[in-house]
């Protein structure tokens, strides 16, 4: 076994490991608390002092997906015995289910707007990135800086004219409006990232294809795109995460029809007061996709969050 002076000693490794694990446990605690709250009953969620040990229940999840009203005795009589397990849970709280809640709709909106804007962004972004990478585009550096700088503006500041513009165009509170907006906001990130990925693909591949009689477009389509697939996939996930988590534009520009989940989750209320278990359940369901993506993205994380400025 060769001894390397730059390889840290065993003791140092242990100390470092323990410190990092401690930090990780502290940092994950609030998240675990959110997830745990989703499985508490209403009174347990606001127990004073807080409860660490509790009897788990699906109340929060049932409340998240249903609208309920407090039951009067003749309503209960009229409704008869509960037929499903979730009705039973609602009855145990002294309520009857009146219908499905808005959460499903809002979640679906997040999916439509998130995936829609990501798809559009990938199409436009890949094309633009390819052009910037391979051709002499006039004023290239200025254009690239311009694209990046659009991300520096506070969303609230640009929201005023966008609000006015959308209102005149009838795009307020529509899926299309939000897709276009998120696409524009994400384009800067995706062009920068994708340009980096495409720069890494040797030009020789395309040149060979062109010599073989491919047109430029075929070369792009059949040679470059497959090579850039990993880069495109990870860029897409970054765009999706942004659109998924975005709040400021969503809260100002959407309401009834196109509202996404982030502005909706904090406003979930129960039959009286805030229904914390339902809020926590909503947050948990909403967080799961992002956590999965984080795990998938591990390798590309750094590049994505720094606009491609740092590569590991």
């Amino acid at each position: 076994m060769s001894y390397s002076i730059t390889e840290p000693g065993k003791g140092i490794k242990w100390v470092a490991g323990i410190l990092v694990v401690c930090y990780a446990l502290i940092t994950i605690a609030p998240l675990l608390w959110i997830i745990a709250t989703g499985f508490k009953s209403g009174p347990d969620s606001i127990a004073y002092p807080p409860k660490v040990v509790f009897e788990p229940t699906l109340e929060g999840y049932v409340n998240l997906f249903t609208d309920r009203t407090r039951a009067t005795s003749d309503m209960l009589e009229a409704a008869g015995p509960p037929e499903t397990w979730y009705e039973q849970i609602a009855r145990d709280q002294g309520t009857v289910i009146t219908g499905a809640s808005r959460y499903g709709e809002r979640f679906l909106n997040s999916i439509i707007i998130g995936f829609g804007s990501t798809a559009l962004c990938m199409i436009l972004g890949t094309a633009a990135a390819y052009a910037f990478s391979r051709f002499r585009v006039p004023l290239k550096d200025d254009l690239l800086f311009f694209i990046l700088s659009t991300r520096m503006m506070p969303p609230i500041a640009v929201a005023i004219p966008i609000f006015l513009m959308f209102r005149n165009l009838g795009l307020n509170d529509t899926h299309l409006g939000m897709i276009l907006l998120y696409t524009a906001v994400n384009l800067s990130l995706s062009v920068w990232l994708l340009k980096g990925f495409i720069d890494e693909i040797p030009v020789e591949y395309e040149e060979a294809a062109l010599i073989d009689g491919y047109t430029r477009f075929q070369a792009f389509y059949k040679v470059v795109l497959p090579q850039a697939a990993t880069g495109i996939a990870s860029t897409a996930i970054f765009c999706l995460i942004f659109a998924w988590n975005e709040y400021a534009f969503a809260v100002l520009l959407t309401s009834g029809t196109a509202q996404t989940a982030p502005p909706f989750i904090p406003t979930i209320i129960g039959t009286s007061g805030k229904d914390w278990p339902a809020v926590a359940a909503g947050a948990t369901i909403f967080l799961v996709p992002v956590m999965i993506f984080t795990i998938l993205l591990r390798k590309h994380l750094l590049r994505g969050i720094t606009f491609g400025a740092v590569r590991k």
Partner: protein, 440 residues
Amino acid sequence: MKTKHLTTAVLSSLIASSAATSALAEDLTLCWAAWDPANALVELSKNFEAESGHTMNFEFVPWTSFADRMLNELNSGGQLCDLMIGDSQWIGGGAENGHYVKLNDFFEANGIDMADFIPATVTGYAEWPKNTPNYYALPAFGDVVGWTYRKDWFERPELQEAFKAKYGRELGVPSSLEELKEIAQFFQGRDIDGTTVYGAAIYTERGSEGITMGVTNALYNYGFMYENPDKPYDLEGYVNSDGAVAALEFYKDLYDTATPPGSSNWYMGENIDAYKSGQVALQMNFAFIWPGVEADPNVGGGKSGYFPNPAGPAGQFAQLGGQGISVVAYSDKQDAALEYIQWFAQPEIQAKWWELGGYSALRAVVEDPGFAQSQPYAQTFLDSMAIVKDFWAEPAYADLLLAMQERVHNYVVAGDGTAKEALDGLVRDWTEVFEDEGKI
């Protein structure tokens, strides 16, 4: 070619049939805040759907964004809502800007008489200008700020003795705001069954209307007035009168000495949480929460009592809440919307409404001999509805509210300046708004 004809025929018959049905059965949308009574209204409306054949849709917006969202909808002439259960203070704007349909003719034609409703709700929810017989809404949900207290704690002998030793009177429902403060201070930090409890949960919220809806309960009772009763929009000396200053100082003192730590941004929901989890002995809240308190496993079933906002040196008033139901002028289904109001005004529907937890404003319901005994809080509701006052209902109400929220919150919660400075500032802000509006 043939197929093309066929499709056209099918299409046109489809269009025709859908047009025919839509003339009979409309798809109505009712807009209101997202809260417990709204869920009860959904249940109640099933009866309307069955009777009329119309379909009811509901758009419920959380309280904190209700005004923002709905006023925006009305101001932009949106067609989302056919029926609007708008907050009482919107009535001025709704009437003057033509958002709401004037209902006088409709009431007359259908025998709906405003004299059948609690007078305060008619003035508060339906009339514009106030105290004139011009109606833009039907009182839909009576609501008022009142107090909930832990009767089970108040009845404990050891606490009663300790209270008497300290204040020389019995521990019970306070007869004045000053007494209320003493009771809250008595409970503040007290150990009950092994946990530390606090005095009162009061409104302090900054973002929407919270602290204004709370502090006015003190202001009114110490002599604050919105304007010179003889000269409209004359504010100086009324908004910032000595009584008003004393009231604001009272509210700050209550906040500083008798509320749970961290209650700096609390409104309806947070107060309910604090009360239900056993943190506080008293809570200020709108009456709509009382059915929920009664049904709660921890504090319901006789453990809680209710009382109207106690008197102050200048009288006894309580902040009005609640809403009237209006027909939105931009709706193209106004006839069906009016049908809904007609259905809703029927005494038997109103009685059912009360039973489901909706505070009916119909006198036939609340003056029924059995009403006061029907629920433990029914009498308190009646007493409170008799002493209500409301915030400005001017078209510029949103601007007036924002100014008050900021001035009062910054003094009470953040301790900026003095009460006098806060109210002087409020006079300046409000004067500016009225000047902007061309009222002065």
